[in-house]
């Protein structure tokens, strides 16, 4: 029992004392996750609107693919992007393997289906009158898109936060494409794996506590955004 209580105590000490190594791992992780979530969101938003609002022949097929990709294993994305950016891959010359950009590419691919599917569902559930009214008010296509995004903003933020939570906690892509290089590509999850293997249990636990706290914070914010949405509807 002492082993656990001692580890937890040392982990808390590491967090409270703002241990430079812990801070470095957390900031690297946040920088990479925020970047990939931002890029994936920019791509997912118009894609989701396109799928939800338009009729085209391959729509059913695209929806099936999208839903399938929701449960995409991180290692599969890792292998796929690895094959592209490794030295013999088509993007090999760009030297992206074992760089933060490499991880970001993998994470963007990982969460595009998730964010797109969630936003698609939000857009799909929006009142049809929203579009008719926008048209009748003299909105251009771009203005209609903007109005739609504004109206769906709480749901969209929820989708983006879900994507952020997914990349923050994933390990497959970060490990395979980042290589766990200290200070460069070492994220919370890859550091936890490495430090546990090295026997630095308290250090790994400290990161685990931070990861859990971040997840809690993400859910907390999402919950209050949903509350805000309900309040606005009332």
């Amino acid at each position: 029992m002492d082993y656990y209580s001692d580890a937890i105590l040392r982990a808390l000490q590491l967090i409270i004392s703002l241990d430079p190594e812990v801070i470095q791992v957390v900031t690297t992780s946040l920088k990479i996750s925020i970047s990939s979530t931002f890029i994936a969101s920019i791509i997912s938003m118009p894609l989701a609107v396109l799928i939800a609002r338009n009729k085209f022949k391959t729509k059913k097929f695209i929806n099936i693919i999208l839903n399938t990709m929701l449960s995409l294993p991180t290692v599969v994305v890792g292998i796929f992007v690895y094959s592209l950016i490794s030295r013999r891959g088509v993007l090999g010359e760009l030297d992206l393997l074992f760089t933060p950009i490499g991880i970001i590419i993998g994470q963007v691919i990982l969460i595009i289906p998730l964010i797109t599917a969630l936003i698609r569902n939000v857009i799909f559930s929006m009142d049809e009158k929203l579009y008719k009214t926008a048209t009748s008010m003299g909105a251009s296509r771009r203005q209609k898109f903007k109005l739609l995004i504004l109206e769906a903003r709480y749901g969209i933020i929820g989708a983006v936060i879900a994507g952020f939570g997914r990349v923050l906690g994933e390990i497959g892509v970060s490990m395979m494409l980042g290589g766990n290089i200290k200070g460069v590509t070492r994220t919370i999850t890859t550091a936890m794996s490495l430090e546990t293997n090295k026997g630095r249990f308290a250090f790994a636990l400290a990161l685990g506590i931070i990861l859990l706290s971040l997840s809690f914070l993400i859910n907390f914010v999402t919950y209050f955004l949903q509350e805000g949405k309900n309040y606005a509807r009332r």
């Binding site: 003299g138 903003r153 509807r233």
Partner: protein, 242 residues
């Protein structure tokens, strides 16, 4: 006397899931007049209004605006911005009443000072100046409809389309609408109104068009208002008019 036609419809056909919703050989909206479209449920009134107001451009046939053929372009922005629509069940966007009334002007890039003045002026005319800061989602049905009327009027449209604006309202709101609507509309405005309300038809109509099964049964220009309308049916008043 030949009346000016602002919108003309020629051989319009709207088919939805193999069912013909509208099949109109010829129909015209008279300029600066109150044009009523009446008919029973499923007669195609709202479908026609959607086509005339360029909300729906998925139809066969031709539409003319002041004699010029209207292209079926999803944007058609310049022309669409001359129109406004008041819906039976209005959609108000997240935000307060002010934001909702101001939206059409914002979309047209009008400066904030003019927006402030215009919103307050139109809100005063509709007696909703005290609600401007209130969230649109907390309004009653009547207040929502007043907000949507203010939103439609703020751009001073050339053509105002009204789709059964009073159907879902309580008696007090209907009375407000009936007593104020004619004053809210300027002489330069053309109104196309889908309505079942015999009082509105009796007081306002310059032209009445009866739709039946997606076809124009009859169009009549009114020159003499001394006719009795029988509240119950649609065909009774039109028979009286004819």
């Amino acid at each position: 006397m030949q009346e000016d036609k602002i919108i003309e419809v020629k051989k319009i056909k709207k088919i939805c899931r193999d069912k013909t919703i509208l099949d109109i050989e010829e129909f015209a909206v008279l300029k600066n007049k109150f044009n009523f479209i009446i008919g029973g449920n499923g007669s195609g009134k709202t479908s026609l209004l959607n086509i005339l107001s360029l909300i729906d451009q998925n139809y066969k046939g031709e539409l003319f605006y002041e004699g010029q053929s209207i292209n079926k372009d999803e944007q058609n922005l310049k022309l669409r911005r001359k129109f406004s629509v008041i819906w039976q069940d209005p959609y108000l966007y997240r935000g307060n009443v002010f934001y909702n009334i101001a939206l059409p002007l914002k979309l047209r890039g009008v400066d904030q000072n003019s927006i402030n003045k215009k919103v307050r002026a139109v809100a005063a005319r509709l007696e909703i100046e005290n609600f401007l800061e209130q969230s649109a989602h907390t309004l009653s049905g009547g207040e929502k409809q007043k907000t949507s009327i203010a939103r439609a009027l703020i751009t001073e449209p050339e053509i105002l389309f009204v789709d059964e604006a009073t159907t879902n309202l309580d008696e007090e709101s209907i009375q407000f609408f009936n007593s104020h609507f004619a004053d809210l509309v300027t002489d330069e405005m053309t109104v196309v109104m889908v309505s079942h309300d015999s009082r509105q038809i009796k007081e306002l109509a310059d032209q009445i068009t009866l739709l039946k099964g997606g076809k124009v049964e009859i169009t009549k220009t009114i020159n003499n208002f001394n006719f009795e309308l029988f509240g119950a049916g649609i065909e009774a008043p039109i028979a009286e008019i004819v």
